[in-house]
Protein backbone atom coordinates (compact mmCIF):
# COMPACT_ATOMS: atom_id res chain seq x y z
CA UNK A 1 0.00 0.00 0.00
CA UNK A 2 2.60 2.50 1.08
CA UNK A 3 4.70 1.66 -1.96
CA UNK A 4 2.01 2.73 -4.38
CA UNK A 5 1.55 5.95 -2.49
CA UNK A 6 5.26 6.66 -2.66
CA UNK A 7 5.39 6.03 -6.38
CA UNK A 8 2.35 8.29 -6.88
CA UNK A 9 4.10 10.95 -4.86
CA UNK A 10 7.20 10.55 -7.00
CA UNK A 11 5.12 11.12 -10.10
CA UNK A 12 3.49 14.18 -8.60
CA UNK A 13 6.88 15.59 -7.62
CA UNK A 14 8.17 14.93 -11.10
CA UNK A 15 11.08 12.80 -9.98
CA UNK A 16 12.54 11.22 -13.05
CA UNK A 17 14.13 8.02 -11.85
CA UNK A 18 11.92 5.88 -9.65
CA UNK A 19 13.47 4.74 -6.38
CA UNK A 20 13.61 1.14 -5.31
CA UNK A 21 11.73 0.34 -2.13
CA UNK A 22 11.55 -2.73 -0.02
CA UNK A 23 9.27 -3.53 2.89
CA UNK A 24 10.13 -4.56 6.37
CA UNK A 25 8.32 -6.50 9.09
CA UNK A 26 4.66 -7.48 9.47
CA UNK A 27 3.37 -3.94 8.98
CA UNK A 28 5.21 -3.63 5.68
CA UNK A 29 7.07 -0.48 6.61
CA UNK A 30 8.61 0.88 3.42
CA UNK A 31 12.38 1.17 3.31
CA UNK A 32 14.36 3.25 0.86
CA UNK A 33 17.87 2.02 0.21
CA UNK A 34 19.69 5.11 -0.92
CA UNK A 35 23.00 4.90 -2.69
CA UNK A 36 24.79 7.15 -0.26
CA UNK A 37 23.97 6.95 3.41
CA UNK A 38 21.90 4.73 5.67
CA UNK A 39 18.53 3.31 4.55
CA UNK A 40 15.41 5.38 5.27
CA UNK A 41 12.35 3.68 6.68
CA UNK A 42 8.80 4.82 7.24
CA UNK A 43 6.30 6.49 4.93
CA UNK A 44 6.65 10.03 6.23
CA UNK A 45 10.44 9.91 6.43
CA UNK A 46 10.74 8.77 2.85
CA UNK A 47 8.07 11.21 1.66
CA UNK A 48 9.88 14.15 3.28
CA UNK A 49 13.11 12.95 1.71
CA UNK A 50 11.47 12.81 -1.73
CA UNK A 51 10.08 16.33 -1.32
CA UNK A 52 13.55 17.64 -0.50
CA UNK A 53 15.07 15.73 -3.38
CA UNK A 54 12.54 17.29 -5.75
CA UNK A 55 13.39 20.74 -4.32
CA UNK A 56 9.79 21.48 -3.37
CA UNK A 57 10.30 22.73 0.20
CA UNK A 58 7.00 24.66 0.11
CA UNK A 59 5.21 21.30 0.38
CA UNK A 60 6.50 21.03 3.93
CA UNK A 61 5.22 24.48 4.85
CA UNK A 62 6.36 28.03 4.13
CA UNK A 63 6.46 29.52 7.58
CA UNK A 64 7.65 27.98 10.83
CA UNK A 65 4.04 27.65 11.98
CA UNK A 66 2.79 25.92 8.89
CA UNK A 67 5.84 23.59 8.97
CA UNK A 68 4.78 22.61 12.47
CA UNK A 69 1.17 22.08 11.36
CA UNK A 70 2.29 19.97 8.40
CA UNK A 71 4.36 17.81 10.72
CA UNK A 72 1.42 17.47 13.07
CA UNK A 73 -0.88 16.23 10.30
CA UNK A 74 1.74 13.90 8.89
CA UNK A 75 1.97 12.36 12.32
CA UNK A 76 -1.82 12.20 12.57
CA UNK A 77 -1.97 10.48 9.18
CA UNK A 78 0.48 7.78 10.17
CA UNK A 79 -0.62 7.18 13.74
CA UNK A 80 -4.40 7.64 13.53
CA UNK A 81 -5.62 7.22 9.97
CA UNK A 82 -3.27 4.45 8.82
CA UNK A 83 -4.79 1.09 9.69
CA UNK A 84 -7.87 2.57 11.35
CA UNK A 85 -10.97 0.50 12.06
CA UNK A 86 -14.53 1.50 11.23
CA UNK A 87 -15.04 2.88 14.73
CA UNK A 88 -11.91 4.98 14.47
CA UNK A 89 -13.07 6.24 11.11
CA UNK A 90 -16.07 7.99 12.64
CA UNK A 91 -13.92 9.87 15.14
CA UNK A 92 -11.38 10.76 12.47
CA UNK A 93 -14.03 12.13 10.14
CA UNK A 94 -15.59 14.12 12.95
CA UNK A 95 -12.21 15.59 13.93
CA UNK A 96 -11.35 16.47 10.38
CA UNK A 97 -14.76 17.91 9.63
CA UNK A 98 -14.41 20.33 12.50
CA UNK A 99 -10.83 21.20 11.64
CA UNK A 100 -11.48 21.79 7.95
CA UNK A 101 -14.53 23.97 8.50
CA UNK A 102 -12.54 27.17 8.11
CA UNK A 103 -9.70 25.80 6.02
CA UNK A 104 -9.10 25.00 2.40
CA UNK A 105 -5.88 23.06 2.99
CA UNK A 106 -4.67 21.39 6.14
CA UNK A 107 -1.90 23.94 6.62
CA UNK A 108 -1.89 27.51 5.38
CA UNK A 109 -3.29 28.56 2.05
CA UNK A 110 -1.52 26.11 -0.19
CA UNK A 111 -1.26 22.40 -0.67
CA UNK A 112 1.26 20.56 1.49
CA UNK A 113 2.64 17.06 1.83
CA UNK A 114 0.18 16.54 4.69
CA UNK A 115 -2.76 17.08 2.30
CA UNK A 116 -1.33 14.61 -0.20
CA UNK A 117 -0.52 11.83 2.25
CA UNK A 118 -3.76 12.24 4.20
CA UNK A 119 -5.64 12.07 0.91
CA UNK A 120 -3.92 8.78 0.05
CA UNK A 121 -4.59 7.33 3.49
CA UNK A 122 -8.16 8.51 3.91
CA UNK A 123 -9.24 7.41 0.43
CA UNK A 124 -10.48 3.96 1.58
CA UNK A 125 -12.48 5.59 4.40
CA UNK A 126 -14.21 7.99 2.04
CA UNK A 127 -14.83 5.16 -0.41
CA UNK A 128 -16.92 3.41 2.26
CA UNK A 129 -19.09 6.40 3.08
CA UNK A 130 -22.70 6.59 2.04
CA UNK A 131 -24.05 9.69 0.34
CA UNK A 132 -25.64 10.76 3.59
CA UNK A 133 -22.42 10.36 5.55
CA UNK A 134 -20.57 12.37 2.95
CA UNK A 135 -23.06 15.16 3.40
CA UNK A 136 -22.73 14.97 7.15
CA UNK A 137 -19.00 15.55 6.81
CA UNK A 138 -19.32 18.20 4.15
CA UNK A 139 -16.04 19.89 5.09
CA UNK A 140 -14.05 16.68 4.71
CA UNK A 141 -15.84 15.86 1.48
CA UNK A 142 -15.12 19.29 0.08
CA UNK A 143 -11.44 19.06 1.02
CA UNK A 144 -11.22 15.53 -0.36
CA UNK A 145 -12.88 16.44 -3.64
CA UNK A 146 -10.58 19.41 -3.94
CA UNK A 147 -7.43 17.38 -3.37
CA UNK A 148 -8.47 14.53 -5.65
CA UNK A 149 -8.99 17.04 -8.45
CA UNK A 150 -5.81 18.95 -7.72
CA UNK A 151 -3.69 18.79 -10.86
CA UNK A 152 -1.63 15.57 -11.06
CA UNK A 153 -2.08 14.30 -7.52
CA UNK A 154 -4.45 11.42 -7.98
CA UNK A 155 -2.51 8.65 -9.70
CA UNK A 156 -3.23 5.20 -8.39
CA UNK A 157 -6.59 5.93 -6.76
CA UNK A 158 -9.99 6.11 -8.46
CA UNK A 159 -11.91 9.39 -8.27
CA UNK A 160 -14.74 9.20 -5.78
CA UNK A 161 -17.89 10.83 -7.02
CA UNK A 162 -19.10 13.63 -4.80
CA UNK A 163 -22.64 14.83 -5.21
CA UNK A 164 -22.94 18.53 -5.79
CA UNK A 165 -26.60 18.83 -4.99
CA UNK A 166 -27.83 17.85 -1.60
CA UNK A 167 -30.25 15.06 -0.99
CA UNK A 168 -30.50 15.42 2.76
CA UNK A 169 -31.07 19.06 3.49
CA UNK A 170 -32.01 18.91 7.15
CA UNK A 171 -28.44 18.61 8.30
CA UNK A 172 -26.58 20.86 10.67
CA UNK A 173 -22.88 21.16 10.95
Amino acid sequence: MALRELSSLEKYLGLKKPNKYSTQGDKKVPVLQSSNGPPLSGLVTIACHLVKEAKRPELLGESAESRAVVQQWLEYTVTKVNGSTREDAKAILKDLNLYLQDKVYLAGNQISLADILLYYQIHPLILDLSVQEKEQHVNVTRWFDHIQHYPSIQHHLPVIAVLRNRIYTSRHH
Binding site: Q101, K103, N109, V138, R142, W143, D145, H146
Partner: protein
Protein backbone atom coordinates in the same frame (compact mmCIF):
# COMPACT_ATOMS: atom_id res chain seq x y z
CA UNK B 1 -26.96 31.85 -12.16
CA UNK B 2 -25.79 34.27 -9.53
CA UNK B 3 -25.85 34.84 -5.81
CA UNK B 4 -28.53 37.48 -5.46
CA UNK B 5 -27.26 40.65 -3.85
CA UNK B 6 -23.77 39.92 -2.58
CA UNK B 7 -23.75 43.17 -0.65
CA UNK B 8 -26.60 41.93 1.51
CA UNK B 9 -26.77 39.06 3.97
CA UNK B 10 -29.14 37.06 1.78
CA UNK B 11 -26.60 36.99 -1.03
CA UNK B 12 -23.85 35.95 1.36
CA UNK B 13 -26.02 33.12 2.65
CA UNK B 14 -26.41 31.83 -0.91
CA UNK B 15 -22.64 32.11 -1.36
CA UNK B 16 -22.05 30.34 1.94
CA UNK B 17 -24.29 27.48 0.91
CA UNK B 18 -22.65 27.28 -2.48
CA UNK B 19 -19.17 27.12 -0.99
CA UNK B 20 -19.99 24.54 1.66
CA UNK B 21 -19.06 21.81 -0.80
CA UNK B 22 -16.61 23.75 -2.94
CA UNK B 23 -13.20 25.23 -2.30
CA UNK B 24 -13.46 27.68 -5.17
CA UNK B 25 -16.22 29.35 -7.18
CA UNK B 26 -15.16 27.35 -10.23
CA UNK B 27 -13.02 24.26 -10.56
CA UNK B 28 -10.29 23.19 -8.19
CA UNK B 29 -7.79 26.01 -8.42
CA UNK B 30 -8.20 29.72 -7.70
CA UNK B 31 -9.27 31.63 -10.82
CA UNK B 32 -10.65 34.95 -12.01
CA UNK B 33 -14.07 33.65 -10.99
CA UNK B 34 -12.96 33.86 -7.37
CA UNK B 35 -11.48 37.32 -7.90
CA UNK B 36 -14.72 38.57 -9.49
CA UNK B 37 -16.88 37.38 -6.60
CA UNK B 38 -14.28 38.45 -4.04
CA UNK B 39 -14.30 41.98 -5.40
CA UNK B 40 -18.09 42.12 -5.28
CA UNK B 41 -18.03 41.54 -1.54
CA UNK B 42 -17.32 44.69 0.39
CA UNK B 43 -16.26 43.22 3.72
CA UNK B 44 -15.42 39.78 5.18
CA UNK B 45 -18.49 37.61 5.73
CA UNK B 46 -19.55 37.23 9.34
CA UNK B 47 -18.27 34.29 11.36
CA UNK B 48 -21.52 32.32 11.25
CA UNK B 49 -21.15 32.08 7.46
CA UNK B 50 -18.11 29.89 8.00
CA UNK B 51 -17.85 28.56 4.43
CA UNK B 52 -17.98 31.99 2.86
CA UNK B 53 -15.48 33.29 5.41
CA UNK B 54 -13.09 30.40 4.80
CA UNK B 55 -13.21 31.03 1.08
CA UNK B 56 -12.83 34.79 1.59
CA UNK B 57 -9.72 34.37 3.72
CA UNK B 58 -8.27 31.87 1.31
CA UNK B 59 -8.79 34.11 -1.72
CA UNK B 60 -7.42 37.05 0.26
CA UNK B 61 -4.11 35.18 0.45
CA UNK B 62 -3.92 35.37 -3.35
CA UNK B 63 -4.27 39.18 -3.43
CA UNK B 64 -0.69 39.78 -4.68
CA UNK B 65 -1.12 37.43 -7.62
CA UNK B 66 -4.77 38.01 -8.39
CA UNK B 67 -4.06 39.30 -11.87
CA UNK B 68 -2.07 36.22 -12.80
CA UNK B 69 -4.77 33.77 -11.77
CA UNK B 70 -6.13 31.75 -14.70
CA UNK B 71 -9.46 32.30 -16.42
CA UNK B 72 -11.37 35.30 -17.73
CA UNK B 73 -13.55 37.40 -15.53
CA UNK B 74 -17.23 37.14 -16.33
CA UNK B 75 -20.24 39.06 -15.01
CA UNK B 76 -21.35 37.91 -11.58
CA UNK B 77 -24.52 36.44 -13.01
CA UNK B 78 -22.49 33.67 -14.66
CA UNK B 79 -21.31 32.19 -11.38
CA UNK B 80 -23.03 30.50 -8.55
CA UNK B 81 -25.98 28.15 -8.21
CA UNK B 82 -28.53 27.87 -10.99
CA UNK B 83 -31.87 29.40 -10.23
CA UNK B 84 -30.57 32.44 -8.36
CA UNK B 85 -30.17 35.68 -10.27
CA UNK B 86 -27.46 38.22 -9.70
CA UNK B 87 -28.77 41.36 -8.06
CA UNK B 88 -25.59 42.85 -6.66
CA UNK B 89 -25.95 46.61 -6.86
CA UNK B 90 -23.45 48.33 -9.15
CA UNK B 91 -21.88 45.25 -10.69
CA UNK B 92 -18.32 46.45 -10.25
CA UNK B 93 -16.51 43.42 -11.66
CA UNK B 94 -18.59 43.40 -14.83
CA UNK B 95 -17.77 47.00 -15.67
CA UNK B 96 -14.15 46.48 -14.65
CA UNK B 97 -13.82 43.48 -16.91
CA UNK B 98 -15.22 45.61 -19.70
CA UNK B 99 -12.63 48.30 -19.11
CA UNK B 100 -9.83 45.79 -19.18
CA UNK B 101 -11.16 44.21 -22.30
CA UNK B 102 -11.45 47.56 -24.03
CA UNK B 103 -7.67 47.90 -23.90
CA UNK B 104 -7.29 44.75 -25.92
CA UNK B 105 -7.42 44.94 -29.69
CA UNK B 106 -8.62 41.40 -29.89
CA UNK B 107 -11.81 41.66 -27.92
CA UNK B 108 -13.71 38.42 -27.82
CA UNK B 109 -15.83 39.02 -24.76
CA UNK B 110 -16.33 42.76 -24.77
CA UNK B 111 -19.65 42.79 -26.55
CA UNK B 112 -21.02 40.05 -24.35
CA UNK B 113 -20.16 41.98 -21.25
CA UNK B 114 -21.74 45.10 -22.63
CA UNK B 115 -24.98 43.28 -23.35
CA UNK B 116 -25.05 41.84 -19.89
CA UNK B 117 -24.32 45.19 -18.28
CA UNK B 118 -27.13 46.76 -20.27
CA UNK B 119 -29.50 43.98 -19.40
CA UNK B 120 -28.58 44.34 -15.73
CA UNK B 121 -29.17 48.09 -15.93
CA UNK B 122 -32.56 47.61 -17.55
CA UNK B 123 -33.50 45.09 -14.92
CA UNK B 124 -32.44 47.44 -12.15
CA UNK B 125 -34.54 50.26 -13.60
CA UNK B 126 -37.57 48.02 -13.81
CA UNK B 127 -37.06 46.86 -10.25
CA UNK B 128 -36.83 50.45 -9.06
CA UNK B 129 -40.01 51.40 -10.95
CA UNK B 130 -41.82 48.43 -9.45
CA UNK B 131 -40.69 49.29 -5.94
CA UNK B 132 -41.84 52.90 -6.39
CA UNK B 133 -45.24 51.75 -7.65
CA UNK B 134 -45.59 49.39 -4.76
CA UNK B 135 -44.77 52.01 -2.15
CA UNK B 136 -47.42 54.44 -3.51
CA UNK B 137 -50.22 51.96 -3.01
CA UNK B 138 -51.85 52.51 0.40
CA UNK B 139 -51.41 49.49 2.59
CA UNK B 140 -54.65 47.60 3.08
CA UNK B 141 -55.57 47.31 6.74
CA UNK B 142 -56.65 43.80 7.58
CA UNK B 143 -59.67 43.73 9.85
CA UNK B 144 -61.66 40.98 11.47
CA UNK B 145 -65.09 40.77 12.99
CA UNK B 146 -65.15 38.73 16.17
CA UNK B 147 -68.13 37.42 18.13
CA UNK B 148 -67.30 36.78 21.78
CA UNK B 149 -69.12 34.71 24.37
CA UNK B 150 -68.55 36.01 27.87
CA UNK B 151 -69.84 33.76 30.67
CA UNK B 152 -70.66 34.97 34.17
CA UNK B 153 -70.05 33.01 37.40
CA UNK B 154 -73.72 32.36 38.29
CA UNK B 155 -77.28 33.64 37.89
CA UNK B 156 -76.66 36.36 40.49
CA UNK B 157 -73.98 38.11 38.45
CA UNK B 158 -75.11 41.56 37.34
CA UNK B 159 -75.10 41.15 33.57
CA UNK B 160 -75.47 44.85 32.76
CA UNK B 161 -72.44 45.58 34.96
CA UNK B 162 -70.56 42.83 33.12
CA UNK B 163 -71.39 44.36 29.76
CA UNK B 164 -70.35 47.77 31.03
CA UNK B 165 -67.00 46.35 32.10
CA UNK B 166 -66.41 44.67 28.76
CA UNK B 167 -67.34 47.80 26.83
CA UNK B 168 -65.01 49.83 29.04
CA UNK B 169 -62.06 48.15 27.37
CA UNK B 170 -60.62 50.73 25.02
CA UNK B 171 -57.85 49.87 22.56
CA UNK B 172 -56.47 51.30 19.38
CA UNK B 173 -58.07 49.43 16.50
CA UNK B 174 -60.92 47.97 18.55
CA UNK B 175 -64.59 48.89 18.02
CA UNK B 176 -67.36 47.26 20.05
CA UNK B 177 -70.54 46.29 18.24
CA UNK B 178 -73.95 44.94 19.15
CA UNK B 179 -74.53 42.66 22.09
CA UNK B 180 -77.26 40.46 23.51
CA UNK B 181 -77.83 38.17 26.44
CA UNK B 182 -78.27 34.53 25.55
CA UNK B 183 -79.79 32.16 28.10
CA UNK B 184 -77.58 29.18 28.87
CA UNK B 185 -79.80 27.36 31.38
CA UNK B 186 -80.81 27.49 35.06
CA UNK B 187 -81.48 31.21 34.65
CA UNK B 188 -77.89 31.91 33.71
CA UNK B 189 -77.31 34.13 30.72
CA UNK B 190 -74.16 34.75 28.80
CA UNK B 191 -73.15 37.95 27.06
CA UNK B 192 -72.68 37.66 23.31
CA UNK B 193 -70.90 40.72 21.99
CA UNK B 194 -69.47 41.56 18.62
CA UNK B 195 -66.48 43.72 17.80
CA UNK B 196 -64.32 44.72 14.88
CA UNK B 197 -60.56 44.69 15.29
CA UNK B 198 -57.55 45.60 13.18
CA UNK B 199 -55.52 42.39 12.92
CA UNK B 200 -52.16 44.08 13.40
CA UNK B 201 -53.18 45.90 16.56
CA UNK B 202 -55.59 43.66 18.43
CA UNK B 203 -55.51 39.91 18.86
CA UNK B 204 -57.98 37.56 20.56
CA UNK B 205 -55.32 36.74 23.15
CA UNK B 206 -55.16 40.35 24.30
CA UNK B 207 -58.96 40.59 24.34
CA UNK B 208 -59.31 37.45 26.40
CA UNK B 209 -56.68 38.64 28.82
CA UNK B 210 -58.43 41.98 29.30
CA UNK B 211 -61.92 40.56 29.62
CA UNK B 212 -61.05 37.79 32.04
CA UNK B 213 -59.27 40.44 34.11
CA UNK B 214 -62.74 41.41 35.44
CA UNK B 215 -62.70 38.29 37.54
CA UNK B 216 -65.55 39.46 39.80
CA UNK B 217 -67.96 39.07 36.90
CA UNK B 218 -66.37 36.96 34.22
CA UNK B 219 -65.87 33.23 34.60
CA UNK B 220 -64.59 32.56 31.09
CA UNK B 221 -64.54 33.91 27.56
CA UNK B 222 -64.73 32.14 24.22
CA UNK B 223 -64.44 33.24 20.63
CA UNK B 224 -67.75 32.22 19.08
CA UNK B 225 -66.99 33.42 15.57
CA UNK B 226 -64.05 34.96 13.80
CA UNK B 227 -64.40 36.42 10.32
CA UNK B 228 -61.90 38.26 8.17
CA UNK B 229 -63.36 41.35 6.58
Amino acid sequence: MGFGDLKSTSGLVVLNDFLSERSYIEGFVPSQADVAVFEAISKPPSADLCHALRWYNHIKSYQDQKNSLPGVKKPLGQYGPAGVADATSASVPASKAKDEDDDDDFDLFGSDDEDDAEAAKLKEERLAAYAAKKSKKPALIAKSSILLDVKPWDDETDMSKLEECVRSIQMDGLVWGQSKFVPVGYGIKKLQIGCVVEDDKVGTDILEEKITAFEDFVQSMDVAAFNKI
